[in-house]
Amino acid sequence: MMKKILLAMPALVAVVLGGFLFWGLNPDRDPNAIPSALVSEPVPDFELPPVESTQTPGLSAAALRSIGEPVLVNVFASWCVPCRAEHAVLTRLVEQDGVRLMGINYMDKPADAANWLEELGNPYERIGSDSEGRVGIEWGISGVPETFVIDANGIVVYRYVGPIVTPEAQDEIRAALAAAGGQS
């Protein structure tokens, strides 16, 4: 009997392994995605100057904490093509839904960023210029664009990786904002 169980083990192990692999093929799973260690943590400490030659003020942790209502923090760069794609969506969120949007301009030349904002419009209330990318590390970003939802108490409640373009992505952002507003 023992022997039979022993001989059946390989097949059983293979089935279990197959189960995991099948799970891994789930199309909603992105093998490259990295979960954020920041969610449910307070906004990391940082202070960023404004992007040179723009009128928009810079961004800091203190500023984020003192707003008192949920905000979006969007990490973008002028060299990032998908950022252009989501820019219109962000603008619309600001104009129509009254979302408060903060920006972190990541590893960008200030002049390029200023041109970019000039060309596409500037929906951001504040923009911090993270030209060396250090604050990006503080936020644990793995690429641009990334968008965070911060609640009224300055706690990061949600993170979205990649451009917010699809209706589903927008719904997720809206839901996260609503949840953040409800909590405070």
């Binding site: 093509v81 252009r84 794609a85 219109a88 969506v89 603008t91 619309r92 969120l93 060309e119 596409l120 419009g121 917010i164 373009v165 699809t166 209706p167 927008q170």
Partner: protein, 383 residues
């Protein structure tokens, strides 16, 4: 020709299959096969012992073991096997094999497409080079023109750039026309399209303002409406974008060629927001022949199978031909028709279209680069 080759392949397969029926000779059964190996192992022990690699006792023990294995192998039952039975099955499978293959091939193969090694397409490569040279000449000419160059010329230049996927240059060319007072909606839309293409499909504020301008000229023109829907989609409100398209479709008094495009975009958007697809019949139950080649068709063509695609190309060409009967002075149209026919292998029709194009081209002034461009294209078709 191709069927001949494929047929030959199939026949050889069948023949090889059948040749098995005439194979003779003894077959090795399990028992004999094993015995040969075991006997060899037995003799190996003798050699090993001779070479003092193993002791006498070890050798003896090993011999006993192998002898026991030989005994066991010798007791193996050998099944009576026959060479005679099962002939008909071999025969049947020989016949079935090519049938299955052809059935499958008819589903996934594309026998109608010739292979086109790059070397045989030298003229095409050459033309691409020519085209870019001609384009450059056209551009220089237009720029040299003190009056700013004819609008038609700039539009042609822009369209050529679009075809060459040089969207920034195309946008520049169209912009020259759009700043003029006589710019029409279609030029504005071309400009917008170039701007959008240059940004990998993103409608920038600049493109948006161009579309706004077109929209002001005629709010009901389907062109601006199409792009406005696109802006809405990009803003993340596909439902509104879809509504905009559907509303315009409802307002139409009869079937138009642009409707296919509207429908396909509306349906794509509908899929996102969970609306069921609509067809032309939902708006005009009695019109069936309102199709026209549009961006949507081309988009749809990407997903088609090869046969579908060539049938599609054919239908598009037929429609173009029909349209040219009403628009006989359209040089570009004739050129495209001639090219299309020659690609499809309908050389007589290609020649006819090319003759029309040549007549039109020759009516242009000698120095007009458009004439040179057209002639170059015609020469290629005639080859």
């Amino acid at each position: 020709m191709i069927w001949l080759v494929l047929g030959a392949m199939a026949s050889i397969t069948v023949l090889l299959f059948l040749s098995g029926l005439y194979r003779t000779g003894e077959v090795l059964n399990r028992k004999d096969g094993a015995l040969v190996i075991l006997k060899d192992q037995l003799s190996e022990i003798d050699t090993d012992q001779e070479r003092n690699l193993i002791s006498v006792t070890e050798a003896d023990a090993a011999r006993v073991e192998i002898k026991r294995r030989i005994l066991a192998a010798g007791r193996l039952a050998t099944r009576e096997s026959s060479r005679a039975s099962g002939r008909s099955t071999i025969f049947a499978s020989a016949i079935a094999t090519p049938l299955v293959a052809f059935a499958l091939y008819s589903q996934i193969g594309s026998p109608q497409i010739e292979s086109q090694p790059l070397a045989s397409r030298a003229s095409e490569t050459q033309e691409a080079a020519n085209l870019s040279e001609l384009t450059q000449r056209l551009k220089t000419r237009l720029e040299a023109d003190e009056s700013g160059g004819p609008s038609d010329g700039w539009v042609l230049l822009g369209q050529t750039y679009m075809r060459m996927a040089r969207y920034d240059d195309a946008a520049d060319a169209f912009e020259r026309v759009t700043v003029r007072d006589n710019a029409d909606i279609s030029t504005l839309l071309l400009y917008a399209e170039a701007l959008i293409a240059a940004e990998n499909g993103i409608v920038t504020p600049q493109a948006e303002s161009v579309i706004e301008r077109a929209s002001e000229m005629d709010p009901d023109d389907p062109g601006p409406i199409f792009y406005r829907a696109r802006i809405l989609e990009q803003d993340g409100v596909p439902d509104e974008a879809r509504t905009l398209l559907i509303e315009r479709l409802k307002r139409a008094d009869r079937a138009y060629p642009w409707m296919e495009l509207f429908l396909s975009v509306a349906n794509r958007l509908g899929e996102q927001v969970g609306e069921s697809p609509v067809t032309l019949a939902d708006f005009f139950p009695d019109s069936r022949d309102a199709r026209s080649p549009g961006a949507a068709d081309i988009e749809a063509a990407q997903d088609m199978s090869v046969e579908e695609r060539s049938a599609f190309v054919r239908s598009m060409v037929d429609r173009l031909a029909a349209r040219l009967l009403d628009d006989q002075d359209n040089l570009e149209g004739w050129l495209r028709l001639a090219e299309a026919y020659s690609v499809l292998g309908d050389f007589d029709a290609a020649q006819n279209a090319a003759d029309n194009a040549r007549t039109l081209a020759e009516s242009l002034p000698e120095t007009d680069p458009m004439r040179a461009a057209a002639t170059a294209r015609l020469d290629r078709i005639n080859k």
